[in-house]
């Protein structure tokens, strides 16, 4: 890659044109931990030459809450609320990942209704999370209005979640063995209303932001991440699919009866620049919202009657052993490496946050970007620091 070559040969950047008696200096810029476009408490040290970024080094850990250490001290059920706080914009998906990991190790069967409910809530949360990503990406680019539009729609999903589980951000709704409660009366009707309302709104975002000329010029051809690079750095989710690789765990290793649903893997096509640029990563999220709406519609149709909880004791005891389970989160693959010694709490729980791995590609993509491109890049990778630092 050209960027890496350039970085390793810094003297290429300043050829002999600068007279020897002129002393030039690079400006070291401390971006974050309090910066509007680092999406939380990320700190990036930028080495810049004017507006040109030569090197970017991320420093993380400002939001480290030792979730993995806590997991060793609490029971399995007690850990579910902690998973909410990993990627707090996609708490349902986190709950789902943890529940599936525990169920896999414990061999717990989940009733079909619970499975469909899990899919519905996971996909609705994916829409909410992508709305947030889309809106805040607009904000990173200096367009304020898309954010408010996205929040307007996200508010509806929050209301639906609140009706189902009483919480608006940290749900703990998907628990070990199923979901916590059945749907309230009339919820399905409300959900269908929302989907009918929401689908045309996507066109509105596209008109306002995605196909805006300035936006395309800001994001197209910026931060190009080829598929090989993306795979090598462990990028998953929209970042990987934005590079053109059709890789989705919901298709590759289906869980929660995802194999019963009809949907397409959204990939970037590079139609507004080069394959794998920021615009592609951004647009994959828009396309995924459409697919999520499709999945939710099908799941609502398939929803059968029956229990929503398998018979799981209040204090779960898992057999000794270990498991690694991954689910497709809005930001990529969320993995739980769960080791049990036969007790009531995990012996070791390693959490693979997708944002953590996605962020690791930043030092590779950042060199030779302009300063403004760094926020374009960070926004298109769409990190949540709660998950990076855990």
């Amino acid at each position: 890659m050209k960027e890496i070559e350039l970085q390793s040969q810094p003297d290429l950047l300043h050829d002999g044109e600068v007279p020897s008696d002129v002393r030039t200096e690079e400006l070291v810029l401390n971006m974050g931990p309090q910066h509007p476009s680092t999406h939380g408490v990320l700190r990036v040290i930028l080495q810049t030459d004017g507006e040109l970024v030569l090197k970017a080094t991320p420093y993380i850990g400002y939001l480290h809450r030792s979730a993995e250490k806590i997991a060793e001290k609490v029971t399995y059920r007690q850990f579910t609320p902690y998973t909410d706080r990993l990627d707090y914009l996609a708490a349902m998906n986190n709950n789902l990942g943890f529940a599936l990991a525990v169920e896999k190790l414990g061999g717990i069967e989940v009733p079909p209704r619970a499975d469909y409910l899990r899919v519905i809530f996971a996909e609705l949360n994916r829409i909410a999370s992508h709305l947030m990503a889309t809106g805040s990406y607009g904000l990173d680019m200096g367009a304020f209005t898309p954010l408010i539009y996205c929040f307007r729609e996200r508010e509806w999903i929050m209301d639906l979640f609140e009706a189902a589980c009483g919480a608006r951000l940290t749900y703990s709704y998907i628990t070990i063995g199923g979901v916590r409660e059945d749907l309230p009366e009339g919820w399905i009707q409300k959900c269908r209303e929302f989907l009918d309302y929401f689908e045309p709104k996507i066109a509105e975002y596209n008109n306002l932001l995605s196909y805006n000329h300035i936006f395309i010029n800001r994001t197209g051809n910026v931060g190009i991440c080829p598929a090989e690079l993306a795979v090598a750095y462990g990028l998953t989710g929209p970042c990987l699919r934005g590079s053109g690789l059709a890789w989705d765990l919901r298709k590759a290793t289906p869980y929660c009866r995802y194999n019963e649903f009809e949907f397409d893997i959204s990939v970037g096509r590079g139609q507004n620049g080069t394959l794998g640029d920021c615009w592609d990563r951004y647009f994959v999220r828009i396309l995924e919202m459409v697919q999520s709406v499709r999945i939710v519609r099908q799941a609502l149709d398939k929803l059968t009657d029956g229990p929503v909880q398998a018979k799981v004791p209040r204090i779960v005891k898992l057999p000794a052993g270990e498991v690694y389970y991954e689910v497709e989160n809005p930001r990529g693959q969320l993995g739980f490496h769960l080791v049990s010694d036969g007790g009531t709490s995990p012996y070791r729980l390693k959490i693979r946050g997708p944002s953590f791995c996605n962020l690791s590609v930043l030092p590779v993509l950042a060199p030779n970007c302009l300063l403004a491109d760094i926020s374009a890049l960070l926004g298109s990778i769409d990190i949540v620091m709660g998950e990076v630092d855990r």
Binding site: K69, K104, V231, A252, G321, H337
Partner: protein, 159 residues
């Protein structure tokens, strides 16, 4: 490929390196010799039947009872859609292993995390620093015998 087939391929490649193998259950994996990890990793990535190109996670597990630290590398192949895991067992007193960052660059941050929280040293790692904890932190918090810090730079914590 099924896990047992993958294990077969690995044994075919280098039977010496495979210490033990688990083909069924929720977590099929092989335990490799720690010295062989880099060659094995290169084989896993380049072998056309395996093609494990996506390193998902590196988990370090502390076993004071066995006096060892296990490293689990969870892999998946984006082209063949099969998953597998390899493990190495390290000495708890002096955990050292070669870095696989040259094969999967994704490993670099995971290895930094294992270094930070579990105290595993990765040889030939380009940038082995603490990642989540402050640079001047003492101890490795995820070890089972870790003592909570009571004071850090004038900040006193609840015991």
């Amino acid at each position: 490929m099924t896990p047992s087939e993958i294990i077969e391929v690995l044994r075919e490649h280098d039977a010496e390196a495979v210490v033990s193998a688990v083909a069924d259950g929720p977590y099929p994996h092989v335990v490799l010799k720690a010295e062989e990890i880099v060659t094995a990793a290169g084989f896993l990535k380049s072998e056309p039947r395996l093609r494990f190109d996506l390193l998902r996670c590196i988990s370090a597990i502390d076993w004071p009872a066995k006096n060892s630290i296990e490293l689990a590398y969870d892999l998946i192949s984006t082209s063949l859609a099969h998953a597998f895991a390899i493990k190495v067992v390290l000495d708890r007193a002096n955990p050292q292993v070669e870095s696989v960052g040259g094969i999967w660059p994704a490993a670099q941050w995971h290895e930094r995390e294992a270094f930070d929280l579990m105290g595993v040293t990765f040889l030939y790692h380009p940038d082995l620093r603490r990642i989540l904890m402050p640079e001047d932190w003492t101890g490795h918090p995820l070890r089972k015998d870790y003592q909570d810090v009571v004071e850090y730079k004038g900040l006193k914590f609840n015991p």
